[in-house]
C-alpha cells in the first residue's frame, strides 16, 4: 500500500512542478523548484508537502468513491412507488455509522497534519548555526540589496540581486524592507518570509547541493513585482572565498580613455545620484551597488542577461523593460552611452 502511494506521489509531482514553473516563468527553464530541495530546510518542507499531498489525495479519492457509489447503486424502490417515509420513524444506524466514521477519520487526519506541521516547524528551528554567515537583505521596489556582515568592518561588502553562499555552511538572513511589504522566497532552499517595513525578520538556512537557484519576491509589491528576482549561487567554500574577497575590493580603475570618460559621465550625470561604486565618489544607496556589476549574470533583478547590449538598452530607457521602475531614462548621446557601458562592463 505504501509503495503504491509513494509511486502515486512521484507520478503527480512532476505535473505540479511543471505547471508551477510554466505558470511562473513562461518557457524559461529556471532552477526554481519547491520539489527539488538543495538543503535541509527545504527538505523538511518537502516532506510535509509529500504527507499533505498523500493525505489530501486519499480523502479526495474516498469522497469521489462514495459519490460514484451513490450514483451507481440501484434504487431500492420502484420509480412509480410512493416515497417510503417509514425510514424517518426509526433510527438510521447504518447512516449514523458511516457519517460518524467519516467525521472521526477527518478529525484524525487533520490532527495528523497539525502534528506533522508542528514537527516540521521544530525541525526547521533545529538547524545548527555554528560558524554561520550573516547576510542582511534589504528589499526595495524592485530589487534586492545584500550586505555581507563580518566582525571586521573592512570585510563587510554590499552587492545586489545575486548572492553567493558557501555549501554546507548555515546562513542567517536578516530581512528588511525599504518601502512596502516584500517576501523573500528561494524555493529550493527554504519557505517564504515576509519583509515588513520597520521590522527585521530572520531566516536561517543551509544549502548543501551546489548550483544556481532562483528566488522571487512572493508578496505583491507593485508594478514590477514579477521582475523582482534574485539568484543564489551555492558553491564550495573554496570557490566562495575568492568571490567574497573580490567583492571586498574597490572597483578597478579605468585603464583607457573610453572607460575614463564613462566614469566621468557616471559621476557627473544622474547615475551617481542613486548608485554607488566603491572606490569612487559615487556612494548613494538608492539603487543597486554597481561596484562589481560585471561579475553578475543578470541586471535589473533578473530581468535581463548582463550583456553590454542589454546594459546599453537598459540605461537608455529602463521603462521599456520595467515600466514604473524608479530608474529614469537617460538622454546620453550614443557615444556617451558607449563609453559609460565600456566602463560598467569593466567593473568585474
Amino acid at each position: 500500500m505504501k509503495g503504491i502511494l509513494r509511486g502515486a506521489v512521484r507520478a503527480v509531482q512532476p505535473v505540479f512542478a511543471g505547471a508551477l514553473i510554466a505558470a511562473a516563468f513562461g518557457l524559461q527553464a529556471q532552477p526554481q523548484d519547491v520539489l527539488a530541495p538543495a538543503g535541509p530546510q527545504a527538505a523538511h518542507i518537502q516532506s510535509l508537502w509529500n504527507l499533505t499531498v498523500v493525505v489530501c489525495s486519499i480523502v479526495f479519492a474516498a469522497v469521489l468513491g462514495a459519490l460514484v457509489y451513490v450514483l451507481w447503486r440501484r434504487p431500492r424502490a420502484d420509480i412509480s412507488a410512493l416515497p417510503d417515509l417509514s425510514v424517518h420513524m426509526k433510527p438510521e444506524s447504518a447512516a449514523m455509522r458511516s457519517v460518524g466514521g467519516a467525521v472521526v477519520a477527518s478529525v484524525l487526519l487533520l490532527l495528523l497534519l497539525i502534528v506533522a506541521s508542528v514537527l516540521t516547524d521544530r525541525a526547521l528551528a533545529h538547524l545548527s548555526l555554528r560558524d554561520a554567515l550573516h547576510v542582511q537583505i534589504t528589499a526595495n521596489q524592485w530589487w534586492w540589496e545584500a550586505r555581507y556582515d563580518d566582525e571586521q568592518a573592512s570585510n563587510v561588502f554590499t552587492t545586489a540581486n545575486e548572492l553567493h553562499i558557501p555549501a554546507g555552511r548555515p546562513v542567517i538572513f536578516s530581512l528588511r524592507s525599504n518601502d512596502v511589504i516584500h517576501s523573500f522566497w528561494v524555493p529550493n532552499l527554504h519557505g517564504k518570509k515576509d519583509l515588513i517595513p520597520g521590522r527585521t525578520a530572520t531566516l536561517q538556512l543551509q544549502a548543501d547541493r551546489p548550483g544556481v537557484y532562483r528566488g522571487q519576491c512572493a508578496e505583491f509589491c507593485g508594478l514590477q513585482h514579477s521582475f523582482m528576482a534574485l539568484r543564489v549561487v551555492v558553491e564550495s567554500q573554496a570557490q566562495y572565498e575568492p568571490w567574497a574577497q573580490g567583492q571586498r575590493q574597490p572597483a578597478p580603475e579605468p585603464n583607457d580613455e573610453s572607460k575614463q570618460r564613462g566614469r566621468d559621465l557616471f559621476l557627473g550625470t544622474s547615475c551617481a545620484m542613486c548608485h554607488a561604486i566603491q572606490g569612487t565618489d559615487a556612494s548613494a544607496r538608492r539603487g543597486p551597488d554597481l561596484t562589481h556589476l560585471a561579475s553578475r549574470q543578470t541586471i535589473a533583478a533578473g530581468t535581463l542577461h548582463n550583456t553590454p547590449d542589454n546594459l546599453a538598452r537598459w540605461i537608455r530607457n529602463p521603462q521599456q523593460f520595467k515600466p514604473g521602475a524608479n530608474m529614469p531614462a537617460t538622454n546620453l548621446s550614443d557615444d556617451e552611452l558607449k563609453a559609460l557601458v565600456a566602463y560598467l562592463v569593466s567593473l568585474s
Binding site: 525599504n178 518601502d179 517595513p197 557627473g268 544622474s270 551617481a272 545620484m273 565618489d281 530607457n317 538622454n331
Partner: protein, 193 residues
Amino acid sequence: MNHRAMLPLLMAGLAFSFSACEREQRVFDPPQGAASAPKVRLGSLQPGQPMGTAGEKAPSLPATPYTFEGNAFAVSQGKRLYRWFNCSGCHAAGGGGDAGPPLSDDRWIYGGEPNNIFASIAEGRPNGMPSFGGHIPEDQLWQIVAYVRTLSGQLRKDVKPGRGDTLQASPPEASRQPGPPKGGKAMDGTEAR
C-alpha cells in the same frame, strides 16, 4: 426609482471615476527633456562630480512648462525623490527648513510658481543651494517641483500625499492649507528681486 432617473446618476458616477483615473495616471515614458547642464549655474556647488561650471551657457528652463500638478502618483514620486536626493537634508523632511529656508511657509525668496522652483533646483541659488540641472532628469525635477508645492499646501487636496514611507512628525501634506505666496528675504537678510 425608475430607469430613466438612474441614467444621470450613472453618468455622474462615470464622470467621477474618470476624473479619478487622471489623478492616478502613471506616465512612465515622459517626454525626454534635456538632462544636460542648465544655461545658468548660480553656484559651483553640485552633487557628484561637477558637469559644467557656473555661468556656462546651455539651454536652461524648459520652453513649455511640463508639470505634474494634478497627478497624485507623480507627487508621491516627488516626495520619494525629495528624500532620496537629500532635499530633506537642508529643507527638513516636512519642508520646515533647517540649513536651507523652509518650504512649508508662504514666503518664496525666488518665486513660488512651478517655473521658479524648477529654476531654483536646476540652476542652484547663492548661499548654498546646489545646482541639480544635468544631475536629475527633467521629469523627475518636475515631480520634485510638484511635491515642493504641496509642502505649503498649494496643490489640490486629492493629489497631495496623505502618508509617508517613513515616520513623519509634521501633519501629512494632504491636510496643509495653502497661503498666498509672498516674497521673502534670503537667509542672509538681503531682499531678493
